[in-house]
């Protein structure tokens, strides 16, 4: 029996020894897997953004774009996120929605900006979507729901436009899983605290939206893709209280009033 055990041990040691040895090699770089994955993500991102750009009008107004860009710069700079990797787009649409696409495309509808009561709430939503991008949730979600082979075939030309539209719909109107949402919430609070933006309004925003019902809720797409908003609002506020930060206004009061004024006019 002892002999058999020694031989079994020898085989197991051989297996794990070989495995450990092969693990030392950086295969991902050797086979250029990362580069290929990045290329696929870039193509997917461009493809999906084209779909949204065609269906809705992109807002080019300087006040809006520059203001949102300044919030994004604040969030990125203090959190060591490359601003160049994030492509911020504002689309004119009443729907209360914001979402991330592959390759760092962050889309915000004017409807969402309109329901924010202060710029910190908007910064919270942006930080949350930024977290989805930084934590690679977007590609993980697509692989899970669409499948890697379909995504690759889409970018290599054999996939039809119908699949691309389905992917676009998945990203703009279906939720990430609870674990990923919580991760993004926590990361958003961290990003905001590091950038000296008060994260509590973000929690309050979720809490407030969670209380909406009836006709109004039809427009709250962001709410339907982010369930349990009240509960989440509560733990975001709880988590924010544990953080230390020096809350500074993310946008000037006057700028915010002008943005709200412009949106109300439209």
């Amino acid at each position: 029996m002892g002999r058999i055990l020694i031989q079994a041990f020898l085989l197991i040691a051989l297996f794990f020894g070989a495995y450990n040895m092969f693990r030392q090699v950086d295969w991902v770089n050797l086979f250029e897997i990362r580069q290929t994955a990045d290329k696929t993500e870039k193509k997917l991102g461009d493809m999906l953004w084209t779909i949204f750009r065609k269906s809705d009008r992109e807002v080019k107004d300087k006040l809006l774009t520059q203001s949102l860009d300044s919030i994004l710069v604040k969030l990125c700079d203090r959190n060591d996120i490359s601003k160049e990797s994030i492509k911020l787009h504002i689309l004119e649409k009443d729907e209360v929605n914001a979402f991330a696409l592959p390759d760092g495309h962050l889309i915000i509808y004017t409807g969402l900006i309109a329901v924010c009561e202060n710029p910190e709430e908007l910064a919270g939503v942006m930080a949350h979507e930024l977290a989805h991008i930084e934590l690679d949730h977007v590609m993980k979600k697509l692989v899970k729901e669409i499948g890697l082979s379909v995504l690759v075939s889409m970018t290599t030309g054999s996939g039809g436009g119908e699949i691309a539209r389905e992917v676009a719909r998945t990203l703009s109107s279906s939720a990430f899983d609870r674990k990923q949402e919580k991760e993004a919430d926590i990361a958003a609070v961290d990003y905001m605290a590091t950038a000296d933006i008060d994260p509590k309004p973000f929690g309050e925003f979720l809490y407030r939206l969670g209380g909406k019902n009836g006709r109004m809720s039809e427009y709250l797409s962001w709410l339907s893709t982010h369930p349990d908003s009240r509960e989440r609002g509560e733990y975001i506020i709880g988590y924010a209280e544990e953080k230390s930060y020096e809350a500074k206004p993310v946008l000037g009061g006057e700028t915010w009033s002008r943005i709200k004024g412009e949106l109300a006019e439209e």
Binding site: I4, Q7, A18, F22, D26, W27, V28, A37, K140, V143
Partner: protein
């Protein structure tokens, strides 16, 4: 790793063929059911069931073929589900995954070569014992007294 050992008696032609077939069975099933790692195990298991009342030489080699497939089953199943999770969940090919796939490919290849070699030797009536599996089979299979 593999050794030709003396066997208590000289197997007949019919026995040699059956014993050799038990290895061939696992090879054919391996090729036929490549993506699903369990097919070769099931095939060798049914081959054993069909020959469990066979002679000592036949039973011995059926069991060795079966056992060698069993450890491959664990390795390959893990690799199989890891691949599935990459395709449908994570989408992340990591260094660990590639290292694991290379390792199991290597073990499968060694097993493949050893199986062919053993099938040929057994057909010639030579008794081939594998490291670990040979001793384990000796404990499990006894000659009928």
């Amino acid at each position: 790793m593999i050794a030709v050992r003396p066997f208590p008696y000289k197997p007949g032609d019919h026995e040699k063929e059956k014993a050799s077939n038990s290895y061939l069975m696992s090879l054919i099933a391996l090729i036929a059911g490549l993506p699903l790692p369990i097919v070769n195990l099931i095939a060798t298991f049914f081959f054993y069931l069909g020959n469990r009342n066979g002679t000592y030489f036949v039973r011995w080699h059926c069991i060795q073929a079966l056992l060698s497939q069993l450890s491959l089953l664990f390795m390959n199943s893990y690799g199989f589900w890891w691949t599935i999770s990459i395709l449908f969940r994570d989408g992340q090919v990591t260094n660990d995954y590639i290292a694991y796939m290379i390792t199991i490919a290597m073990f499968n290849l060694v097993d493949f070569a050893a199986t062919i070699y053993t099938a040929i030797q057994t057909r010639k009536g030579r008794h081939v014992e594998w490291l670990f599996y040979g001793d384990l089979t000796n404990r499990l299979v006894r000659p009928v007294r």
